[in-house]
Structures are given as C-alpha cells and as structure tokens.
Amino acid sequence: MTSIILLSVFGIINLFVGFAKNKKVLLPLVLLFLAIVFGINLLDWNDTQSYFSNMLTIDNYAVAFTGIMTLTTLLLLPFSQRYIDIADSNLAEYYSLLLFSLVGAVMMVSYENLIMLFIGIEILSIAMYVLAGSDKSSLRSNEAALKYFLMGAFFTGIMLFGIVMIYGATGTFNITEIGAAQAGIGADGLMNTMFILGILVLIIGISFKISAAPFHFWAPDVYDGTPSFFTAFMSTVVKTAGVAAFYKLMVAAFAASYTTWFPTMVAITVLTLVIGNVGAVIQTSFKRMMAYSSISHAGYLLMALVAFNEASDASILFYSAAYSAATIAAFGVLKMVQDQRRSADYEAFNGLGKTNPLLAFAMTVAMLSLAGIPLTAGFFGKFFVFSAVLQHTDMLWLVVLAVILAAVGIYYYFRVVIAMYMQPAGNYEVVKVGSFASFTLIFITILTILLGIAPALVSELI
C-alpha cells in the first residue's frame, strides 16, 4: 500500500527534478527511490491488510510480486545510462513514466476489486504506450506506439465489457464476493450464460496484455519497434504483473467455474507455447526473437496457471523472477550492442566473446537460463512449472509438448551464443560499457546462478 503512494509521489518529484539541467542526478535518485520502495514493501510481509474499503489487499502474494517487479525495474535502470549523454532525451519523463507504470503493476497484483484491476492495467498501459513511442525520430517506434495503443485500447474495451457482464451476473466487483456468488447463479440460465461469457471475455482481455496467443499478434512489432530499454520493461514487469493478476483473478473469483474456463485456458496455453517457440526459430533479428521468446515464456507461465493447484503461485513467482532476471540481462546487453553496432540482428553479436567477455558471459548465462538449463534459475523455473502441471496425471501430454518446445527453444537461444563465441568479430570494435551497467550485469548473473543452485530462496516465499 505504502509502495503505491510512494511510487506515485516519487514519480512526481522526479518530474520536477527533471527541470534541473544536471541529468546525472536522475539515475541515482530513481535508484534510491526504488530501493526505498523495495524496502518499505517488505515491511508488509506477513501482515495482510485491506485498504480503501476493500479495494486493495496487500498480502504476501502482493508483496512478493511487488518486490520482484520493483527489483526488476531497479536492475533495469542502470542500462539507461546512455540516455544521460543524449541531449534531447527526456530522461526525467522516462523515469517518471516507468515509476507510474510500476504503480499500475503493483495495483494489478494487489487488487481486490475488478475496478482496481482495470485501473491498474490502464495506468500501466498508458505509460507504456508513451514509452513505446519515445524514440520520436524512429518510424518503427512511432508505429509500435500506435499499434500498441490502438490494440491496447480495443482490448481494454473488451476487458471492461467482460467485467460489466460479470457484474451483471453477480452484482459485485469484489473478486472474493464474485467467487462466493457464482454458486447461486447456476440456476438462472441467462445469468449463467452472461457469467460464463464474462469470464471468457475477461480471459481474452488479459491474454492480450500478457501477449498470449492467439492475441499476441501485436507483440513482435511492438517489442521490435520500441526502444530496447523499454522493451525490457514491457517483457518483464508488464508480463509478471499480467500473469500474477490473471492467476489471482482465477483463484479468487473463478475457482468454482474451473471446468468452464479450463478448456479455453489450455487451448490458449498450447497455442502460446507453440506460436512463441516456433515463431522465434525463424527470426533473424535477436530482438524479434526475444519478442517471440517472451510469448513462449507467457506460455510456460500459463502452464502453471492451468495447473491451478497449491504449487501454482510459487511456480509463477519463481518463474517470473528467473525469467525477469535473464530478460533484463539479455536486453541490457542487447541495448549496449545495439547502440554501438546499430543492429539488433544475431550478426551484431559476432565475436562479442572476444571483444567483451563480460557481456558475452552475462548473455550466455541469460540464454542458458531462458533455455532452462541447470545451474541457472531458468531450470528451476521450468522444473517447478512442470511439477505443478504433472500433479494432474492426465496432463502429461502438456508437459511432453512443453518439453519438446523447450528443446526447440535451445535452438534459437544458442544462436546468439554461437555468434558471440564462434564467429569472428570482423570490423566490430569493443562495445563501450558503463561501469554501472557492468556491475549490474555481474549482479544479475550471480543472482541467476545463485537461484539455479539454491532456488528455495525465492520458491519458498509464498
């Protein structure tokens, strides 16, 4: 709760600090803000409270996800170092928008009321629409912003439609009350139809936000066009918040209609896994591959949701943490390589192992983690997800499918590793890396390996 207020206030303060000419203070300041939020958020641990006449509930679930999302943002920010040197970049605005976006994300993991969910998603999204278009001189960035905005607005409408139908059927926006109310509506045919339709429409709306197939079509273009720094935020924090909100909604409101939405969710999961992984294989641009890879990871996260048992929340939490850490590292390296070599293709990484051993190593660990190979956090992410699903013995086929697709994943993740270590650097020079950024990369790499050896640090939180 305090984290929401603090983040909003800090965002505004930050805007004012932006009037000062010295941009150098901004980054340390925002990092400090986020560190404060991270610390204060932890104070709410094991202390479940409801706020604003039951609109928000801060429980351990909310605290854990808020913690991960704040930390993700914190670790991402050092990669914006280069913006400081660009004269006409609106750094203060970018930072403030990120903070505001984070406010929306926190609301999405702690809502108790569908209205709050809706507002959270909107706060998050509107900031992201702006950031997607932040590279004003780039046509691709403009295209991304427009696409994201139009599609986003459309699906927000759909989601609202779903919320309204559920309200119509149950007479409440409160998710716990919805969960309790649905036993009574089974008898009424019309109400029941409206309720089920509401669930399905709501599922479609949120699926869009986490870029689950078949509502993913916007993602590759938007991720590709958006400046890499913000793409990283989009594919980590936004996705984490989306999946966490999704799971919370299903557990609190729609657990009793599990059998109704289960087939739809399974279909979405399977499609997401297949389209994400197969789509990533055929890309020649690393950044576009990462866009498809983020779709595929939405699929693995949805597997944990579909499992829908006591192991699901811990799996989602751990998977989000592992995935976020690896993705920030990957995008961090990508951004630095892209800034210097003017390309986000696989070829841009040629010879990086020779020119920048640190960047190459961090990228390799990130790719191993995304591919789910032991010694990295990603392995335990997949492991927890598979265990959650396998508790339903009749869903073995889903795990088999995921296993086959995970092997496909290794193919595209390793292309960049091969480019870095086994291709000659050619004309490429050493990529300049800020000290702050290298320190962060080392930290993320250690974190990824640490979670790959001792996963209990995160997985036993909730």
């Binding site: 392995f379 092997a407 290794i410 036993e460």
Partner: protein, 483 residues
Amino acid sequence: MITALLLFWPALAALLVLLIKGQGAKKVAFVAALVEFALSLFALSAFDTQSGASQHTLSLPWIESAGISFSIGMDGISLLMVLLTTFLVPLIILSAYKHEYKNPHVFYALILFMQTGLIGVFVAMDAFLFYFMWEVALIPIYFIAAVWGGADRIRVTFKFFVYTIFGSLFMLAAFVYLYLQTPGAHSSDVNAFYQLSLSSESQSWIFWFLFIAFAIKMPVFPFHTWQPDTYTESPAQATMLLSGIMLKMGIYGVLRWLLPVVPFGVSQWDEVVLVLAIIGIVYASIIAIRQRDLKRLIAYSSIAHVGLIAAGIFTLNEQGLQGGVIQMLSHGINVVGLFFIIDIIFSRTNTREITSLGGITQNAKGLSIFFMILLLGSVALPLTNGFVGEFLLLSGVFQYNAWFGGVAGLTIILGAVYMLRMFQGVMFGTKSELTENFTDLTLNEKAVLIPLVVMVFWIGLFPNTFLSISEPAVNNLLSIINR
C-alpha cells in the same frame, strides 16, 4: 565427505585455472587432476568391497520443502566409474601437452568443470541432483567442442547439444512424474524411487522417457546420428572425454535409474532394446569397415561396442551386468588410447585418411607396439581387457537368447576386420610422402600411453580386482530389479 571433496575439487580447481593466463594453465590443471585421482584412490582404500550398499554417503537438504536433497554416495559401480573418470582426466589433460590451444585457461577450466559434472552423475543419489549434474557435464563439453573444434564444428556440435538436451528433458519429465508418485511429502531419493510400485502401463511409458535420454547419450542405434560427426569435429581431448567417459553416463544411467526403477517397463521392452542394440552392433561395424577417416572409424566402432554393452545389461543377468561394468572401464581405456594415437598421427602428418598413410612401423616402433596393444584390447583378444568384458557380455546375451548371442558375436569378427584393416593401412605397407619423416613417441606421449596399456593388461589378466568391487553392488541391483 570424501565424495563431496571428489565432487567439488575439480570445480574449485577450474576456478583457479581460470585465473592463470598462458600455457601454465595446463600444468595447474594436470596437477589438480592428479590430486583428484589421489582422492579417488583414498576413497577406494576406505571402501568396503564386501558391501553392495552405497558408502561415503552425504545428504544435505537442498530444496527442503520439496523433499529434494543434495544426496551423494558411491556403491561399487559408482566407485569404478569415478575411478575411471579420475584416471582418464589427467591423461587427457596430459595428452594435450603439445597442443597450443587458444585461451588455454578456459579450455582446461572447462575440462575440470566437466569433471565435476561427470563425478556428480556417478555419485548422485537423488534424481534431481543426477539430472542437474547430467546437464552440468554437458555444457562444458559443448563449448570445448564448439569453440576449439574443426571446420564444421558449429553445425555438428549444435546438433549434438540440442539432441542430447531433447532426450534429457524427457528424463526430467519422467523424474518429476516419479517424484510425484512417492508417498507422503514426496522425495526424489534413489531409494524412494526403488520402492515405488507403479502400474505396468505407467512403467511402460516412463521406460521410454528415461531410455531415450540414456540411449541418445550412449548412443544406441537409431539415436546415434549425432555421434560420428561430433567425434570427428571435436578437438582430440573433447573426443576422448565424450567417448571415454561421457558415454558411460548413459550406461550408468540405465543401471542406476532405469532398470531398478521401472523393472516391469524393462520386462516389456527389453527385447526391443536388445534388437536395437544388436542391429547397432552389426550396422556400425559394417559402416566402420567402409570408413576412410580414422576418427570416424573409431567413432563407429564405439557405437558397436556400446551396443554390446547395452545388449548385455538389458539381459538382466549377472554376467551381462558385470560384463557391462567391466567393459565400460575397458572401452573407456581403449578408446581414449586409440583416439590419442590418432591424434599423434594427425599432429605429425596432418591427415586422418587411411589411404594417405602407411609404413609408420618402419619409423616408429614404439608407437606401433602401443597401437597394437590397444587395438587388440579393442578387438577383445584374450589376455587383454576387452576379452573379459565381451566374454561376459556375450555369455549374458547367450543366456538370454542364443540367436541374439550369435548375431551379437559377429562384433568380434567384424571388429577384427575393421581394426586390423585400419592397422594395416596406417602402419604397414610403403611409406607415403606424409609418413616419410614420422618420428617415434616423445616422452610425454609415452607417459599417457603407458598407464593405459598397463590397465589393458591389468584388467585382462586380473579382472577380479575390478569385478570384485562391483559384484556386491550388481547383486544388490539385481535383487532390487527382481523383487
């Protein structure tokens, strides 16, 4: 405790080696590997060879809430595999003495790091630790092969990597399933898996999930397609690691994690596996006869030998299993020796084509003798190590089915054909331009070959030294399988 030391020492040494720039890394790595060998001898001296239970055990909580523990230990089979690993790794490092690899510190650190993975696979008593170590062993060897390998290395090693991961992910899925079947608060301990009583339908599919992972690693026909290319394109040391030690991971996996865990699954499918293995023996032998590249020839011979081991252990009788264990040691020693000799020849003539070689005996008597001994060991001549293993394996297969035994026995004849044909082409005949000035073995080459040849005779003459170590463990395994 000693097991943990054996497991972590190479990894620690690898970190140390990483800090040393230049060719000095090689020496440090060699000393570290010798220390590891000494540690394993100490473990052997403190080992009770009368008992089939695992010893030197250590169990610490790892992911406590999930019942997953860091649990390691060795029974006789594990110990022999650990000894094989610790014996071969120093020799493999020494065999690179003359090579000036780029970034030597990374190269040798990766070898040592891989050793941790290999030892880990052989001592893991927990399914997830086993899987973990299984992949830990894979990543370094992939980089060794892909960075320091031959011209076509990128495509070939990538195929190898994706192929093996594909298999092992199935193993992971099977382990997770088995783990969830354990009663109470779930456990992934090996003994918990042994005590499961699963329906024969589920054992049937679990069998395939596990078998695919192990079969790709060994490799058993028809999962072998990655192997000849990978062996050919990898640098010599990587080929030795892959063929000498890594393929034993697959066989060991069958012994520890397949046969006793899903005995009904095995009884449903053992005939299929035997047929595949025997097809592999004959098929690979025939292809080996047609090879002109020395490395490819040995690669195919390796498929044939492993096929026989696989056939032997799936007979589930004592001869077959004991033969499998002893043949794992023999094959490891012979194949590393043979690949090293090929590397020696290659380093002097820059070719591995049999037709461009010839007449080497005239210049290099020492090399010829060592080559001949290792080759005879490989074709299973009595008094050499190969004989003991193949004899036991074939007698195991005969007990299972005389027809199978007859066809599998072709391996001895075909093996002699391709091996002797190779020896004739390379060593006898007239000298070619390339072998005109062939020099005999240097001191450090002898230092690698002598221990290997000593082992060829030791296992050949006194197999009981080794058989007695594994016997209680094999009997213990059989009693679990037949329970």
